[in-house]
Amino acid sequence: MSPRSAATDVSWRRRVSDAGLRAAYARRPVARTVPAAASWAVVACFVLVAAVGPLLVGADPTRQTSDALLPLGAAGHLLGTDDLGRDELARVVYGARPLLLVAFLATAVAALLGVAVGLVAGFAGRRTEWLLMRLMDLALAFPAMLLIILVVAAWRPGVPSLVAGIGVSLAPGLARLARALSAREAGRDYVLAARLGGTRAPRILVQELLPNIAGPLLAQVVMTLSVAAGFAAGLSYLGLGIQPPTPDWGYMVQAGQEFLYTAPRLVVLPAAATLIFVVACNFVGDDLRDALDPRAAR
């Protein structure tokens, strides 16, 4: 690797042309800058904590005891206890799960819905395209947050409604990108060849077209993940996410605000955890986008 700083080394980008795109993907590794590498490490840590952390802490995050509001470093409770005497360390560790779960599932819903709609819209006739894209516009006529809140409220607060609400509101962005890419590819020779060979449209879409636009799409999907994480955290803060007593950072912050002056750590710990995770996700998304879609890079 060259001794030049990674931030200013753009030599790999100059090589980018339609033909050399695959080579460019291969030559641009991820995590080459300090913030990017740090973010990858942070996100990996959080995923690890969410996955195996609960096995290590031992304490039950929902067991109430009479030792309410013990301070940091109390015997047996490294991070103290909350107002109901529950172990704060266990709650912070377990609390990572809902946020990660909702963010990943919602992104998956947005990706499936958005890519499916976009692929078909770019490939099908004018009328289908118009109808599908106007449907997507409808979701954009509301501020995303309002749409999600209404979906969650109209259904019932919890993981399914949260995933559906966030997924639906983030799908249009992906659909627009997928439509543009699929319309561009639809005129290519290999698509024509597949058509003349008698391959049916759904098969062409999935087996021929999708692999050719997967890079830029995946990059956008990763960016969507950090947005989804932000929404998931915000909604659970409003009390419209995971319902208590299941520990969840957003809700812990809301409940902890009552004890701002007596036990600020009840707010600071889950808030800082959310903040670090969401910001790191965003850096990772940026980095992956640069790696997967060189043309979109600055």
Binding site: G234, Y237, G239
Partner: protein, 356 residues
């Protein structure tokens, strides 16, 4: 075919036609939004009547009593009618700006919005101002010091700031500035002990109209933390855009000409460079306004700020349909109007678009 015909008509009629077409779309969009809100409201789980009927009395009500109460409440609220009838009534009331009244306490929704909407507008406008100032400053700085540590730092901070989750940053700001440093008040919009009789509910306007300058300082103190929390995500975007557009313009011929004419750096920046950045900035403000409104829902909750977002969330938690409906409509209305305003502003700022 129809498309080319329309383009031709548009060319012949020019700007007034563009403006008219954009304005004509507003009622249509609003009608759709209102219908969606109506549908969402009717899907809310658990009838509000159940909540009222069970919770109303002291002690245990029998099942029969609950059912009887429920029927009486449903009748009073018009929830016993068929859905099409309810929808007709809803649209009729909407046209007359009658949004009903809260299930709890019976305050009229229009009245509640009258005090909540100005609070939210104040918050979002203040946030936009802060975002533009921060974004302009950091963006120009990063562009002028391109590829130095200042540039790298500014861009990193920009990326951090536009992904900050509002509630997490908001509560941390409360802990630092309100609890530890005790510099700023952290809850509400005005101190409770202050004798404030709203006239327009826009504090700045009221302070002028009622000639009470002493209102302004406490108001600003309460506004600064929530507005900054809300502004940071937008500021990050503006930093990026300003940096890019300044870099683009700096190499252009007209800047070189201006420099040769002997204009000072500051003059070039103001008259030539920044004027060219105004369009992208307006674009960001428009695109990000929806996200800003969404953020205000959360920020208002964090700071107990009595705006529309606060009204919406409390309405949902209490299953107060009319309150939720009114707040959702108000947010949708604000969003639509700002989008129209931004589109029209484009026409003013960029004469090239008038020919489109």
């Amino acid at each position: 075919m129809t498309k080319t015909a329309m383009t031709k008509t548009a060319e012949r009629l020019g700007t007034p036609w563009l403006v008219a077409r954009r304005l004509l779309a507003v009622p249509i969009v609003l009608f759709f939004l209102a219908s969606l809100v109506f549908i969402a409201m009717r899907m809310l789980p658990g009838s509000p009547a159940t909540a009222l009927a069970v919770g109303g009395g002291s002690g245990q009500a029998t099942a029969a009593e609950v059912r009887e109460n429920e029927a009486r409440i449903n009748e009073a609220l018009g929830l016993d009618k068929s859905l099409p009838e309810q929808y007709g009534g809803f649209l009729d009331d909407l046209v007359h700006l009658d949004l009903g009244s809260s299930f709890y306490g019976g305050n009229s929704i229009t009245g509640l919005l009258g005090s909540a909407l100005p609070a939210t507008i104040e918050l979002t406008v203040a946030a936009m101002l802060i975002a533009v100032l921060l974004g302009l400053g950091t963006g120009v700085l990063a562009a002028l010091r391109k590829d130095t540590w200042v540039d790298t730092l500014t861009r990193t901070v920009g990326t951090v700031s536009f992904s900050l989750p509002w509630f997490a940053f908001g509560v941390l700001a409360i802990v630092v500035f309100g609890v530890w440093l005790r510099w700023l008040p952290v809850l509400g919009r005005m101190p409770a002990q202050l004798d404030y009789h709203p006239l327009t509910n826009f504090v700045l306007l009221d302070a002028i109209l009622q000639n009470r300058p002493e209102l302004i300082w406490p108001w600003l103190q309460h506004l600064i933390l929530p507005a900054t929390t809300l502004a940071l995500s937008m500021a990050g975007f503006i930093t990026r855009i300003v940096r890019a557009s300044v870099l683009e313009v700096l190499g252009d011929d007209f800047v070189r000409t201006a420099r040769m004419k002997g204009l000072s750096g500051g003059q070039i920046l103001r008259r030539h460079v920044l004027r060219n950045s105004s369009l992208p900035i307006v674009t960001v403000l428009g695109l990000q306004f929806g996200s800003l409104l969404g953020g205000s829902v959360i920020t208002e909750q964090v700071f107990s700020y009595p705006g529309v977002g606060n009204m919406l969330v409390n309405g949902i938690l209490q299953r107060d349909y009319p309150v939720v409906q009114g707040a959702a409509l108000a947010i949708a209305l604000l969003f639509t109007l700002v989008n129209v305003a931004v589109d029209l502003l484009y026409l003013v700022l960029d004469p090239r678009l008038r020919k489109a």
